[in-house]
Symmetry: none
Subunit: 464 residues, 2 copies
């Protein structure tokens, strides 16, 4: 029995404890977007800091301008050992749970329910990211508890502002370059191609997330007495937003597609081999027709083409019945997913110019930037990628595939730019995990395989 | 001295009593929207029922499914007299006074304060509609007290649900057709062009008020994982709503403008003579550029052209910060002000067809109708309009103007449709009366002129 096999056996024996720790973390409503939950964010950080300290990490809660960061170090086998240094990144914050009435159980009272793949945990953060971070936290724990230490050097960085665009992370990375030195970053915040296909994500889209406020008249007005004379902020905003995307699903911002390379034939072939069934994918969310750019393949649209989505929209009266008001104000949250070749600042500038040109000059536009991150493409030939593919193949008994993700993990871009680190995106989520939606869930089978895969990866990289 | 002159002289002698009665009525907080004020609504009805009974009316409080109605009759000079029968309509209910902190005095403790036009009464309902109804109630009283009777036959109908959309009124009108038979309705719930210009409102816009719900995916989705594949309800709705109005401010529903007659040259000339200063009007609400159809005059756009306004808009995440969600649902309240020639049902059908054509067939549209009322144009050549113009001219010493209102008074349409009655819209409010807002007021000068005008109108119609 190898050491890695002993560690896996220990995980098997103690699995209930690993799962319990994950559920305990989920009970803390660490919603970074809502100021009322600041103390919960702090509790969620303290929860994991304590766990890491118990494993022999030097673990600290570090203050930032926003939610605190957990930073922890473990020396691994010792100063002289020739083992790699891994930087594990995760986040303890979660999305707001609203709308609450669509949850079948309370978002911060995790429940284990039976699904088609066996038991699953339902709660806000079940997968994103407490569930996935709990996998590598569990693997570290299993190695320490079974062997008394770790086969690699490890730094752990867990932030609490990922769901609000990580405003404090970059200053932290820049200030703590020395403390964060490592050979590669390991992040579990992505998905598998499907529950039985081991997957490594090598592409992530970038994100520009903006908030637009529009003010027209000095006050809300009676739509009878003022209609036909007074500008309506909601009408103006709807019109401007509608103009952002054309009839063919293309974003109309000037220069938006400049610099985007078409997919290589090899990449196209690899994705074609996945036999993506878009009709089934859409049927799973109650739709029949794809959105996005006409004339592009399904995975291409999701992984390798940019988008424009309205994430929120408001203005005027939304209560019961009728109120005959011309709204003075309206607003929207609008985001663009970006792909390699696009510069977030260029997109933001184009958006500002576009919106200003769309609205009359007696209205007032206020545009805030919530996020701005480039897309990522991970080099596929590193020893870390090779080790991760091997660990996945060992766990699943079949080769791992290299996939893309339409989502954005801005930290991947920050780690590359500020620390020079590539990231291993080793994720175990599924498409139907309801991430960011009511009834978010994570399959216990995925959690278990992720926990095993991380334990195997530690063994491989430590030569054990 | 004519009889009318004697009645006017009595009003002058007893003016303090007329004003006191108006203020006493204002002290009753008859807020129809707030169930806690149901007893106050009943008190406000009883207050006027008693007054009318004292004047020799057979006056009753009639129950409805909601707030009671006051219904009263006076036979006038007698069964054989060839005099017209007037139906006076008013409402004793008022809007909620909130927000209370913006009032400079208590909303149900009327005060008389000095303003640029002399004394004014400040209270909720000061003008809408207790103040305006008190003018014709006072005129009826003056005639009875001075002459022992009325020169015309009179029916009085005062409801208590106008501010909540008059849900019980149409059933009442339909059930009481015989008791409400009359030659013309008289309503004081509109405004004057300005304080020194006697005005009769002969046009009201109609209203179609709709609520649209749009559902795309089965649930809210992550904009990264699903962006480029999943339809976004907010994008689809914004696009559909934007398409309702073209670049020139015209509503794009097919057939929307069919049947609308252009203004006559005479009407144009009459409104041109009002010297409407649109720049000043817009400056008063913080705007510089008019909305509405390009190439139409200012008053024409407000009084004689239809509109389309988004009254409310919602979808996705509107809280603080960023939520990267593709909304499954979005909605809007949308209303059209209508003008003569437009049929509400045709507009509703066109809207339904238009929206259905704008959205993909895997989304679900749900359209509710909150209001559907035709525009009103009062025939200008009737003897009642002539008499009202003459009464106004006598009182003000200058000719009355015929104006429009961009608003809708649904009872006017109901009276026409159910009872076949045209309405005399004899209003004395001013644009700055803060109707429905804190510090609602009515100028005593306007009240006095309204009281006189109604007394004069009774005399003219009774041939006295």
């Amino acid at each position: 029995m190898t050491t890695t096999e002993r560690v896996l056996a220990r995980i098997g024996a103690d699995f209930a404890a690993y799962q319990a720790s994950w559920l305990d973390w989920l009970r803390i409503p660490s919603i970074s977007a809502q100021p009322a939950h600041a103390a919960d964010c702090r509790d969620a950080a303290a929860f994991v800091q304590r766990d890491l300290a118990n494993l022999g990490f030097t673990a600290a809660i570090r203050e930032t301008a926003g939610q605190p960061v957990v930073l922890a170090h473990h020396p691994g086998p010792g100063a002289g050992a020739d083992v790699p240094h891994l930087l594990f990144y995760g986040h303890y914050d979660v999305q707001p749970p609203e709308p609450l009435d669509l949850w079948t159980s309370k978002p911060f009272e995790p429940v284990v329910v039976e699904g088609p793949h066996g038991p699953r945990v339902v709660a806000r953060g079940a997968v994103d990211d407490k569930g996935q971070a709990s996998m590598w936290l569990g693997a570290l724990r299993a190695w320490v508890e079974e062997t008394g230490g770790l086969p690699v050097r490890a730094t752990v960085l867990i932030e609490g502002e990922e769901e609000i665009g990580s405003p404090s992370l970059e200053p932290f990375l820049a200030a703590e370059r020395a403390a964060l030195a490592a050979d590669v970053a390991v992040i579990s915040d992505t998905g598998s191609w499907d529950i039985d296909t081991p997957s490594l994500t090598t592409r992530l889209r970038g994100l520009v997330y903006l908030e637009v406020g529009l003010r027209a008249a000095a006050r809300d007005l009676h739509s009878g007495l003022f209609g036909g004379a007074a500008r309506n902020a909601a009408n103006v905003l709807a019109r401007a937003l509608a103009a952002l995307v054309d009839d063919r699903g293309r974003v109309t911002l000037p220069g938006f597609y400049d610099g985007i390379a078409d997919l290589t034939a090899a990449q196209r072939a690899e994705w074609a081999a996945l036999h993506y069934d878009e009709a089934a994918f859409l049927a799973g969310i109650g739709l029949r027709h794809p959105a996005g750019e006409a004339g592009r393949e399904g995975l291409e649209r999701r992984w390798a083409r940019p988008t424009c989505d309205i994430n929120g929209l408001w203005g005027g009266y939304a209560g019961p019945g009728a109120k005959t008001v011309i709204p003075a104000e309206a607003g929207a949250k609008v985001s663009f997913r970006l792909v390699p070749g696009q510069d977030p600042e260029t997109v933001i500038a184009a958006f500002r110019a576009f919106m200003a040109a769309q609205v009359p000059d007696d209205t007032r536009l206020d545009i805030q930037v919530h996020s701005a991150a480039r897309a990522i493409e991970v080099p596929q030939d590193s020893r870390f990628v090779q080790a991760a593919r091997a660990a996945l193949a060992d766990e699943y008994g079949r080769p791992a595939v290299l996939i893309g993700s339409g989502g954005s993990i801005p930290v991947v871009e920050s780690l590359k730019r500020l620390l020079g680190l590539d990231s291993l995106l080793l994720g175990f989520g599924l498409d139907d995990d309801q991430t960011h939606s009511p009834n978010e869930k994570f399959e216990v089978r995925c959690f278990q395989r992720g926990l095993h895969t991380h334990a195997r990866l530690l063994g491989r990289l430590g030569g054990m």
